[in-house]
């Protein structure tokens, strides 16, 4: 973190709240993360942990109100999201891929129309044939079979995998440094998921883009990211090199999550993590994981843990009062 302007994405102390009938939902209390240029970062967490909220804040598409957003900084490639101008330039500087490719394409328009719209905003005033060539190139880029036919089709005429390829092609047409992918393969079949992940991996490497991959599928994260943030109930609980974290998780939540995932080895399934994510209304004042944690001590109920380096390493941090202790059974 020598120079912050070199970061593809920099979020400092983001907090997001919502006011509802029962009180205030403190979804994200204070979250910092960064993505370096050409780095591929994973964001793991289960439903309701706030990972999509983080992603939306980064892309400047989080609606506020209703969300009450406070932050020290959100910068995309050095540009802050503050003000109308900032928001517009950030939106232009990130491309997003969503979980459900069928709802991120307009069902009433042909693929070619939807792609041309993006091209027109990126490269105004070109000839029709030029646009067409660019679209074919873009589809070719994502190894789309029969791109000519795809251009003339409506989204419903394509399979889920093909639609996601179109979405990736469209995301790549925007000449941006930062790509945000929100569960891009969750809706797809396993064999298709592999193809899409390989494709994303290849394209991001080739074009030296930065990628944030949000997913609850741990395998997908391990496959294509360098570094991983593990989120629980709005907090980052562990950050580190993906392989290392998966090999020797330090936070009890990461440990539980990895243990609960069924393995090919057939060694049975650990009993998961008892309980549920705590309510965001009056969340526990100590560690938010305390009520489900096997290591919980009175200290955990008192003060929230902060991210601290593991073994004095800069690139591996854990937010747990008992991070130093060996994992208990």
């Amino acid at each position: 973190m020598e120079n912050k302007n070199n970061l593809a994405l920099n979020i400092e102390n983001l907090s997001v709240k919502y006011k509802v009938y029962e009180g205030t939902l403190e979804v994200i209390p204070g979250l910092s993360m960064h993505v370096e240029q050409a780095e591929r970062v994973g964001l793991i967490g289960e439903a309701g942990c706030g990972k999509t909220t983080v992603l939306k804040s980064a892309a400047a598409v989080l609606h506020s109100p209703p969300a009450i957003v406070r932050k020290d900084a959100i910068e995309v490639c050095g540009v802050s999201v503050d003000g109308k101008k900032g928001v517009r330039s950030v939106r232009r500087n990130v491309s997003m891929i969503f979980q459900d490719p069928s709802s991120s394409l307009n069902p009433t328009l042909k693929i070619s129309t939807q792609m041309t719209d993006i091209l027109k905003s990126q490269f105004p005033g070109r000839k029709k044939a030029e646009y067409r060539q660019m679209m074919l190139d873009a589809l070719d880029n994502v190894s789309m079979p029969a791109p000519e036919r795809v251009l003339g089709s409506y989204p419903v005429q394509l399979s889920g995998g093909m639609r996601q390829r179109v979405c990736i092609a469209m995301a790549l047409m925007k000449d941006t440094n930062l790509m945000l992918a929100d569960e891009p393969t969750t809706a797809l079949d396993v064999t298709i998921e592999e193809q899409i992940l390989d494709l994303l991996d290849k394209l991001v490497r080739e074009k030296k883009k930065s990628l944030v991959l949000v997913s609850h599928a741990l395998g997908a994260i391990r496959k294509i990211t360098d570094r991983v943030y593990v989120m629980y109930a709005g907090n980052v609980v562990e950050v580190g090199k993906t392989r290392e974290v998966f090999e020797h998780p330090r936070h009890p939540y990461t440990i539980g999550l990895l243990a609960a995932t069924p393995k090919l080895t057939g060694s049975g399934i650990a009993d998961g993590i008892a309980g549920d994510i705590p309510s965001y209304i009056n969340p526990p004042k100590g560690c938010r994981f305390a009520s489900r944690c096997p290591r919980c001590t009175p200290e955990c109920l008192e003060a929230p843990p902060v991210l601290e380096s593991v073994d004095g390493r800069e690139d591996w941090m854990v937010a747990c009062h008992h991070a130093g202790e060996e994992a208990m059974a």
Binding site: E46, S159, V190, E194, A260, P262, G266, D276
Partner: protein
């Protein structure tokens, strides 16, 4: 005592659609033994849920037969089945939110099967006792009875669905992707609960899923389906050690795993290519031939026959 809970022979189901006849299930045969947890694996359009629906009787088959407990023919829709049969075969859906009536409390939801299948008319106290018993069996606290489905978590909803199935006191439960809408940490709890309940109540399961890792850890035997046909079927351990069909190899190779140890367990030679064709427009010959790396001429001409490659291990491929 009968050996098979469910025996399926040459089962075929066709649907008429605007675009022609869709063969969702094509000449499928297998059996589920008593006390067994049988996994049925496949991607979208493979027909795995259609088989589940025929067993519970959402609709009857176009041809072929389903036999329950060796001698009861159940190849017809549930409307034409006796109440006793409906009680024996229960169902848990994928989407726990959608399968519970949002306007009813858990108590009201669970009292439906309890009252429906009771041999005699039960008093309110008896119903209440039975509901509480079942709720305890699936591991939910009694104060959940007064809650509405929207007030409880996804995993807990699925436990309520399991409780509702148990309330009928069944022999056999079809579990249609029971955990795929849930988080990993919750999925583990539900699957372990399901295994525990199976042992306690000597149940048999048909576990329909797309998650091979889950099957690896849960099921005794499994069958893999592709476009309406079974490609391979074997004991779980044997299957994962020695997958024979090119599609099952591709499927296994595609799984994103969590460690190098698992990486080594995957067959390495098959890379995933191509799209799953629409079941309306199936390829001629072997349904897998357009994506198969070992394709021969015969594959595009003839549908392969099921072969026993080793005792109890069947695969359906011309190359074997």
């Amino acid at each position: 005592m009968s050996e098979n809970v469910i025996q399926i022979e040459n089962l075929t189901k066709q649907f008429k659609t605007k675009f022609g006849t869709l063969t969702a299930v094509d000449n499928v045969s297998f059996n589920i033994k008593r006390g067994e947890n049988f996994g049925l694996v496949g991607e979208s359009g493979s027909g795995k849920s259609t088989i589940g629906s025929m067993i519970v009787g959402t609709y009857g088959p176009t041809s072929g037969s389903i036999t329950f407990q060796d001698d009861i023919d159940i190849s017809r829709s549930s409307k034409q089945r006796e109440p006793a049969l409906k009680q024996q075969i229960q169902l848990v859906f994928q989407d726990p939110g959608g399968s519970l009536n949002p306007r009813k409390t858990i108590r009201q939801i669970l009292s439906v099967p309890v009252e429906l299948y009771a041999e005699k008319r039960l008093t309110t106290a008896e119903v209440e006792k039975r509901i509480k018993d079942i709720l305890e069996q699936v591991g939910l606290p009694a104060h959940y009875l007064d809650k509405y489905p929207r007030a409880i978590g996804g995993g807990e909803k699925q436990l309520v669905c399991v409780a509702r199935a148990l309330a009928a006191n069944p022999q056999f439960i079809v579990l249609d992707e029971p955990t795929s809408a849930l988080d990993v940490s919750i999925q583990a709890k539900i699957t372990n609960k399901l295994i525990e309940l199976q042992r306690q109540n000597s149940l048999s399961y048909l576990f329909i899923t797309h998650n091979l890792c889950l099957v690896r850890n849960m099921c005794d035997r499994l069958a893999v389906m592709y476009l309406g046909s079974i490609c391979e079927y074997a004991d779980t351990a044997e299957f994962f050690e020695n997958p024979r069909h090119p599609y099952t190899q591709m499927l296994l190779a595609s799984i994103p795993v969590l460690s190098d140890v698992e990486e080594e367990l995957k067959p390495q030679k098959v890379k995933s290519v191509g799209e799953i064709p629409s079941p309306l427009n199936k390829p001629k010959g072997c349904p897998f031939n357009p994506r198969c790396p070992f394709k021969k001429d015969i594959c595009t001409q003839e549908v392969p026959q099921m072969k026993e490659v080793s005792p109890g291990h069947y695969a359906c491929c011309h190359c074997l």
